[in-house]
Symmetry: C2
Subunit: 218 residues, 2 copies
């Protein structure tokens, strides 16, 4: 049938595959997709108004980062992590995040701490409102805001792939334990930052990271 092609604005926007990638990446990282959720090339393409080719590139990229899982037949789904894998990813977070925080410590001036406090307030509201996606989003933003000051782009990049892998699982975990009160760790982190106490900061991050994920054990 070969219909005449629809002409796109032709402005030099971001490539289609990149738009698809970013959209899906956010869905995964913020836990807006359930573990085991299947994604098809044609389905993604239709959702984003593109053909299979950009959709394929986006999925390939995301699976390379561990955000998605590839079955033997080439099917793509969000990962269903085993308890061992969740534990391991938590340990990786516990290894990297205190290091990033420590590096950010000396560069963390007051404006940064204030901004983190604001994000933490939004986080507390999300908890009270029982909004898992917003909770995950603000929680990650809280951490990322701090780590950006570490000036360690490679390490932060690696850490974000870990967050990505945990995205769908976080969603089910945080909806499962229906927490109604904010965990105290973020306050400890802020206090350590204000005090300039490296050891306390590292400890606060380690407990924040491991505590949040170790509550799933069933």
């Amino acid at each position: 049938m070969a219909v005449a092609l629809i002409r796109m604005p032709s402005q030099s926007e971001a490539p289609a595959h990149d738009r698809v990638y970013r959209g899906l990446r956010q869905l995964v990282m913020h836990g807006e997709l359930m573990p085991g959720q299947a994604l098809t090339l044609r389905g993604i393409g239709k959702q984003y108004g593109v053909s299979m080719t950009p959709a394929r590139e986006a999925l390939r990229r995301l699976t390379a980062e561990g955000a998605l899982t590839l079955s033997a037949s080439g099917r793509v789904t969000t990962p269903e992590l085993s308890n061992d894998r969740i534990e391991e990813l938590a340990q990786i977070r516990a290894l990297m995040e205190p290091e990033l925080a420590s590096r950010a410590l000396r560069r963390a001036h007051l404006a940064l701490i204030d901004r983190m406090e604001a994000i933490n307030d939004a986080n507390a509201r999300a908890i009270h409102r029982q909004d898992p996606v917003e909770y995950i989003r603000t929680n990650l933003e809280f951490h990322r805001t701090l780590y950006l000051r570490a000036q360690s782009p490679a390490m932060l990049g690696l850490l974000e792939t870990v967050w990505l892998q945990l995205g769908p699982t976080m969603r089910t975990l945080y909806t499962r334990l229906r927490r109604t009160t904010a965990p105290p760790h973020h306050r400890l982190i802020l206090e350590a930052l204000r005090a300039g106490d490296d050891a306390a900061l590292r400890l606060a991050l380690r407990t924040d990271v491991t505590q949040g994920l170790r509550h799933l054990q069933g």
Copy 2:
């Protein structure tokens, strides 16, 4: 015009894009490509006897892992790392590799240590033969053989992406300093393993990792 397609063996081999990916990944990791080396879709396709589509998927995957760099216009090259970036990647290695080694320690029985010793001999021969690619290959195999025992696939996966990012740079570094004698760190690692000394093992790995990459400073 739609010419009749050439029929491929149709055996259920690995997909073409995966073969291309594996081939290129090895080239990058073992330092067989110079930093800044440009890779084109049609060129890769011709080399591996496939069309642009699988070549594109392989390149997308490798750039997602940091093995390749994407220019603003979409061109793909091997990364040319700044000194800061090299330093940061070395610090990441120094953070992860002692951890992996420590986890492998209690599972490291004699057969493993013997195998590592054999790999280390091959490594020494590669140094004497002035063969940078074989040196890098055996060096990484030495480390990976140990870390596989850590039973931490996620952490090992992350570490391999770090190795990937360093691949092309390692090549130029190791050819630059034309070492003729093996560094002593691998022997220290083996001794610590035999002694079951965790602290010594961690220290040996940290120095092996940082020492090898800190010699570039010019």
